[in-house]
C-alpha cells in the first residue's frame, strides 16, 4: 500500500496535467492558433527573463549558503595549494564575468526580440570584424590563464626539493599503508612476489636498506610543518588515488608504476582545528580513483605537527622497524641495547639528515 499510494497519486497528477494540456490544445484551435501562439510566446518570453533574474539571484543565494563549506574558507594547508587557490580565484573571476555577460545577453535578447507583429527580423548574416574580435579576445584571455596555470603546474610537478622528507604510501583495496625509510634515508627494495601476510608490502629484506624501514599500517602519516614532503605512491591491486583535498593535491597510485607527489604543509593539524573551530578536524586522504565496492571508505589520515612533535614521534617509530616484526628472532632483546641506544643518542639533526 505504501508504495501503491504515491504511484496512484503520481498517475492522477499525470492524468490531470495531460488533460489540461489536451484541453489547452483544443482551446488554441478554437481561439485561432495565431492568437494563442502569440499569447504563449509572450508568456514564455516573460518566463525566460524571469528565469534569468531568479537564476542569478539563486546563484547568489547558493553561494551564500555553501561558500562557507568549501575549502576556500579554511585556506590551503600547503604552500602549493595556496597558489592553486589564487588561480581558482582568478579563473572564477574571469569565467564569472563571461558567464554573467553571455547569460544576460542570451535571455535578454530572447525577451527583447520576441516575435511581435510590427517587428521584422534583421537580415544580418555575418560581420568579419565582429567575428575577429570575439576570436582574438578569448584567445588572449585564455593565453593568460594558460600561462598562469602552467607556471603553477610546473612548480608543483618539478622534482621535489632535496631536503624533502620521504614517505612511501601504498594503496590496496581498501586501505593505505605507509613506509618511512628509517635512519639511512633509503627505502629497502620491494618485490611484489614476496608479499605475504606478515610482509604485506612485499619488502625484499635481503636488501640491508630495508632493515630500518618503518611500516605504518592503518595509515596515520605524521609529517612536520614547514618542510617539503615527498610521497612515493604505489598500488598493489588496482588504481587508487592519494587525494589530499586540504593540500589541494592528488596523485594516482598505479600498480607497477610508482608515482610521486610533493608538497610543503604550512598549517599543523592543531592549528587547523583552531582555525575551523572543529576539534575533530584531521587531514584526510581520500581515495579519488574508483577502486571497487569499498572505494568510499578508503580513508587515511595525515597528521601535520611541529618539528619537535614530529621528531619525538619518529624516534618512537625508529624503535620498531618492520624487519624486526617480520623476523622477530633478529630483533634486539629489550635488554640488548646496541641499536636502541644508538637511536636514543641520535640528535635531531642526524635524524633529519637521515630522513632525506
Amino acid at each position: 500500500m505504501k508504495v501503491l499510494l504515491p504511484i496512484l497519486i503520481l498517475v492522477m497528477v499525470f492524468v490531470i496535467i495531460f488533460q489540461i494540456a489536451k484541453a489547452s490544445e483544443y482551446v488554441s484551435v478554437l481561439k485561432g492558433e495565431d492568437k494563442s501562439n502569440k499569447q504563449t510566446n509572450k508568456v514564455n518570453a516573460f518566463m525566460l527573463i524571469a528565469f534569468l533574474i531568479l537564476g542569478l539571484l539563486g546563484a547568489w543565494w547558493c553561494n551564500d549558503l555553501y561558500y562557507d563549506k568549501t575549502l576556500f574558507v579554511k585556506g590551503s594547508a600547503s604552500a602549493e595549494g595556496t597558489e592553486i587557490d589564487t588561480m581558482l580565484y582568478i579563473t572564477i573571476a574571469v569565467t564569472g564575468v563571461v558567464f554573467v555577460v553571455t547569460q544576460v545577453l542570451l535571455f535578454w535578447f530572447s525577451f527583447k526580440y520576441q516575435a511581435k507583429d510590427d517587428n521584422k527580423a534583421y537580415y544580418y548574416p555575418h560581420n568579419n570584424k565582429l567575428e575577429m574580435i570575439w576570436t582574438v579576445i578569448p584567445a588572449i584571455v585564455l593565453c593568460v590563464l594558460v600561462v598562469f596555470g602552467l607556471r603553477t603546474w610546473f612548480k608543483i610537478t618539478n622534482p621535489a626539493p632535496k631536503n624533502s622528507i620521504l614517505v612511501e604510501i601504498t594503496g590496496h583495496q581498501f586501505a593505505w599503508e605507509a613506509r618511512y625509510p628509517g635512519t639511512d634515508g633509503v627505502f629497502g627494495k620491494k618485490n611484489y612476489k614476496l608479499t605475504t601476510g606478515t610482509n604485506p608490502l612485499g619488502v625484499d629484506f635481503s636488501d640491508p636498506f630495508s632493515h630500518d624501514d618503518i611500516h605504518i599500517g592503518g595509515t596515520d602519516i605524521h609529517i612536520p610543518v614547514g618542510r617539503p614532503v615527498k610521497l612515493v605512491i604505489n598500488a598493489q591491486d588496482v588504481i587508487h588515488n592519494v587525494g589530499l583535498p586540504h593540500f589541494r593535491l592528488k596523485m594516482d597510485a598505479m600498480p607497477g608504476i610508482p608515482t610521486t607527489l610533493w608538497f610543503t604543509p604550512i598549517v599543523t593539524t592543531a592549528q587547523m582545528r583552531e582555525k575551523t573551530n572543529n576539534p575533530k578536524f584531521v587531514y584526510e586522504i581520500s581515495c579519488d580513483q574508483m577502486c571497487g565496492p569499498g572505494h568510499f571508505n578508503m580513508r587515511g589520515v595525515i597528521t601535520v605537527e611541529t618539528e619537535e612533535e614530529y621528531n619525538k614521534w619518529l624516534a618512537e617509530q625508529y624503535k620498531k622497524p618492520e624487519y624486526f616484526s617480520v623476523y622477530p628472532d633478529k630483533a634486539p632483546k629489550v635488554a640488548d641495547t646496541g641499536m636502541l641506544k644508538k637511536l636514543d643518542t641520535l640528535t635531531t639533526a642526524q635524524m633529519v639528515k637521515g630522513a632525506k
Binding site: 508504495v3 539563486g58 579563473t91 555575418h126 578569448p138 596555470g149 591491486d237 580513483q289 571497487g292 565496492p293
Partner: protein, 601 residues
C-alpha cells in the same frame, strides 16, 4: 504506397507523381517496421530504442541518488524490486557502483551517441541534402541491428547473478581486468566489453554511411557550403566516430584478452586479495590512453549534433539567418580536430610527464576559442530577430545557456594545476553533466520537438512541451549548480556514503535536495515520453507542408514522405539554408531560384 498519396496535401506540387516512387513492392510489417531500410524508419528505431535506454539509465540515477540523498534510510520496496542487491531496503555498495557504471555507459553510448546521432543523422542527412536514402540502406539497417544486439547483451548483463560492470563507465583496468577486484568485474564486465564491441561496429557502419552519403549524394546545387549546419555537425560527428571508435575497440579487445586469456597488456606487479598475479610488464596507463583517445572525441560526438541542431532551430525560430555561417563551420571543424589532441587532459594526475601535460593544457584551452565563437554567433543570431518560442526553440536556447555554464567550468578543469585539485570531485560531475549530458539532451529534445512533425505528420502537444522544458531546465540547474560547491569542498565523486569522512559529511541536506529534484526531473521526462507516444497516433495533425516556415529541403517533401522521400524529382538547390528576413521575404527555401533583383550577401 497508397498511404503516402492519401496524406499528401493539395499544396504539394508533386502530388500524384506516386509512380515515381522507387519501391512498388508490397511492404510487409516486417520490412516496413522491423528490418526497414528506409532511413526515416531506422531513425525512429534509434530514437525509440534510445528513449527506452534513457528511461533505464535515468531510473538508475534516481535509484543511486536515493542512496546519496538518504544514506541512513531504508526503503523496503527497493528490496521488492531489486532483490538481493538491496537487502533490507538499502542498496549494496556493489550495486550502487554497478548502477553508477551503467548510468554512465547507457547515457553516454546508448542514448547520447546512438540515440542522438543515430536518430538525427539517419533522419536528417538524406532529407536535408536532398537524397532518397543513405548511400547504403542495407548497412544502415545493419547499423541499427548491431546496436540492437549490443543493447540485448548490455541489458542481459543487468540480470546476471554477480551484476553488471561496476568499475565506472571508464572501466579502468586492473579493476575491470581482475575477477577478484569486485563482483562487477566478473561476467558482467565481459558482457560489457562484448556489448561495446557490437556497439562500435554499429557506430562504424552508421558513421561510414553518413560520411559517404553527405559527400556523394547531395542534390544538384547543394554544394558543401550550402549545407545546413545540422549536416555539417553530423558530418564531423561521423568523422570523429569513425576515427576514434576503432581505438576503443582495440582497447576493449585487449582488455578481454587480459581478463580471459592471461595476457598482460594492462597488468603488472599485482597482488589482489592475497593472491600474487603472474602478470608482468603491462601498463594500466596504456588502457587510459586508448580509452580517452575515443573518450574525448566521444564528448564531441555527443555535443556536435546538439550544436548543429540548435543552430538550425535558433535560426529558423529567430526568423533570421544564422550569424557567421562560415565561422560556425570553421569552429565545428576546429573543435573536431582539437577533439583528437586533448585526450590526456583526463590523465593529468596519473603521473604523466609534466611537459606532455602542459601541451595538453594548451590544446585543451584552445577549444574554448571555437566554443566562444559559437556562443557569440548564437547570441548574435538572436539579436534583432523576431523570435518564436516553440518548445524546440526553448530547448535550443536552454542548450546555449547550459553550454555556456558547463563550458566555462571546462576552463577550470583543462588547466592542469587546477585539475590536480578538482579532478574526480563533484566539480567534474557538475561540469560534464551540464555541458555534455544535459546540454546534449536539450539539443536532442530540441531536435525531437522540431522534427517530430516531419517524423510522424503530427505535432507534439505544446503545453506538455512547455512544462517539460521549464521543469527540466530549472531542475537541471538546481541539481548541478550546487554540485560545484561540493566539488570545491573536495568531495570525491563515486562515493557511496560520506558518513565516515570528517571532510565531506557537511552536505547532507544538499544531497537530499539534489536527489529530490532529480526525482522530479525524471518524472517530468516521463511526461515527455507519454506526449511522444500519444502524439504518434493522436497528436494534432500537420496540415501544411512547412509548418515552421523553414528553408531546408526536408520541408519540401510530402507531410508523410514515403521511402524515397520525394514523390517526384528531388528539388534542386539554389541558395544556402539561411535566407530568412532577406529582401523583405520572411523566408526563402533553398529550392527557390535566386531572383534577378535579389541582393547578395
Amino acid at each position: 504506397m497508397s498511404s503516402v498519396a492519401a496524406t499528401i496535401d493539395g499544396a504539394d506540387i508533386h502530388a500524384g507523381h506516386d509512380a515515381h516512387q522507387e519501391h512498388h513492392h508490397h511492404e510487409t510489417f516486417v520490412s516496413k517496421y522491423v528490418f526497414s531500410q528506409d532511413h526515416k524508419m531506422i531513425a525512429k528505431q534509434f530514437l525509440i530504442t534510445g528513449m527506452i535506454w534513457a528511461f533505464i539509465g535515468g531510473l538508475f540515477s534516481v535509484l543511486f541518488r536515493i542512496q546519496l540523498g538518504y544514506p541512513d534510510a531504508t526503503f523496503p520496496w527497493l528490496q521488492d524490486i531489486l532483490g538481493h542487491w538491496a537487502e533490507g531496503g538499502k542498496l549494496k555498495p556493489e550495486f550502487y557502483y554497478a548502477m553508477v557504471t551503467m548510468h554512465g555507459t547507457i547515457l553516454v553510448f546508448f542514448v547520447l551517441t546512438a540515440g542522438l546521432s543515430g536518430t538525427f543523422a539517419n533522419f536528417l542527412i538524406p532529407l536535408q541534402i536532398g537524397a532518397r536514402d543513405m548511400a547504403s540502406p542495407m548497412l544502415n539497417m545493419l547499423s541499427y541491428w548491431f546496436f540492437f544486439l549490443a543493447s540485448i547483451v548490455m541489458f542481459s548483463s543487468l540480470f546476471v547473478q554477480t551484476g553488471p560492470a561496476s568499475g565506472g563507465w571508464t572501466i579502468y583496468p586492473p579493476l575491470s581486468a581482475l575477477h577478484e577486484a569486485s563482483s562487477g568485474s566478473k561476467i558482467g564486465m565481459d558482457l560489457w566489453l562484448v556489448s561495446m564491441a557490437l556497439f562500435i561496429i554499429s557506430s562504424l557502419l552508421g558513421g561510414l554511411n553518413y560520411i559517404t552519403t553527405i559527400l556523394n549524394l547531395r542534390t544538384k546545387g547543394m554544394s558543401m557550403t550550402r549545407l545546413p549546419l545540422t549536416i555539417w555537425s553530423l558530418f564531423f560527428t561521423a568523422v570523429l566516430g569513425v576515427l576514434s571508435f576503432p581505438v576503443l575497440l582495440s582497447g576493449a579487445i585487449l582488455l578481454l584478452f587480459d581478463r580471459n586469456l592471461g595476457t598482460s597488456f594492462y597488468l603488472s606487479d599485482i597482488v589482489i586479495a592475497g593472491k600474487i598475479m603472474p602478470n608482468e610488464g603491462g601498463s594500466p596507463i596504456l588502457f587510459q590512453h586508448l580509452f580517452w583517445f575515443l573518450g574525448h572525441p566521444e564528448v564531441y560526438i555527443i555535443l556536435l549534433p546538439a550544436m548543429g541542431m540548435s543552430s538550425e532551430i535558433i535560426s529558423v525560430n529567430s526568423r533570421k539567418p544564422i550569424f557567421g555561417y562560415m565561422a560556425m563551420v570553421a569552429s565545428l571543424f576546429s573543435i573536431a580536430i582539437l577533439a583528437f589532441l586533448v585526450w590526456a587532459h583526463h590523465m593529468f594526475v596519473t603521473g604523466l610527464n609534466p611537459f606532455l601535460g602542459s601541451i595538453f593544457v594548451l590544446l585543451t584551452l584552445l577549444i574554448a576559442v571555437p566554443s566562444a565563437i559559437k556562443v557569440f554567433n548564437w547570441l548574435t543570431t538572436l539579436w534583432r530577430g523576431n523570435i518564436r518560442f516553440t518548445p524546440a526553440m526553448l530547448f535550443a536556447i536552454g542548450f546555449v545557456s547550459l553550454f555556456i555554464s558547463g563550458g566555462l567550468t571546462g576552463i577550470f578543469l583543462g588547466n592542469s594545476a587546477l585539475d590536480i585539485h578538482l579532478h574526480d570531485t563533484y566539480f567534474v560531475v557538475a561540469h560534464f553533466h551540464i555541458v555534455m549530458g544535459v546540454a546534449s539532451f536539450f539539443g536532442m529534445f530540441a531536435g525531437v520537438y522540431h522534427w517530430y512533425p516531419k517524423m510522424y505528420g503530427r505535432f507534439l502537444n505544446n503545453t506538455l512541451g512547455y512544462i517539460h522544458f521549464w521543469v527540466t531546465i530549472i531542475g537541471a540547474y538546481l541539481i548541478f549548480w550546487p554540485m560545484h560547491y561540493e566539488g570545491l569542498a573536495g568531495m570525491p565523486r563515486r562515493y557511496y556514503d560520506f558518513a565516515n569522512w570528517e571532510s565531506f559529511n557537511m552536505f547532507g541536506g544538499l544531497n537530499e535536495f539534489i536527489s529530490t529534484v532529480a526525482l522530479v526531473v525524471f518524472v517530468a521526462q516521463i511526461l515527455f515520453v507519454i506526449n511522444f507516444f500519444y502524439s504518434i497516433w493522436r497528436g494534432r495533425k500537420v496540415t501544411t507542408q512547412n509548418p515552421w516556415g523553414a528553408n531546408t529541403l526536408e520541408w519540401t517533401t510530402p507531410i508523410r514522405p514515403g521511402h524515397g522521400n520525394w514523390p517526384g524529382e528531388i528539388p534542386e538547390v539554389h541558395r544556402w539554408a539561411y535566407d530568412y528576413a532577406k529582401d523583405g521575404n520572411e523566408f526563402i527555401p533553398q529550392n527557390v531560384p535566386v531572383g534577378e533583383d535579389e541582393s547578395k550577401h
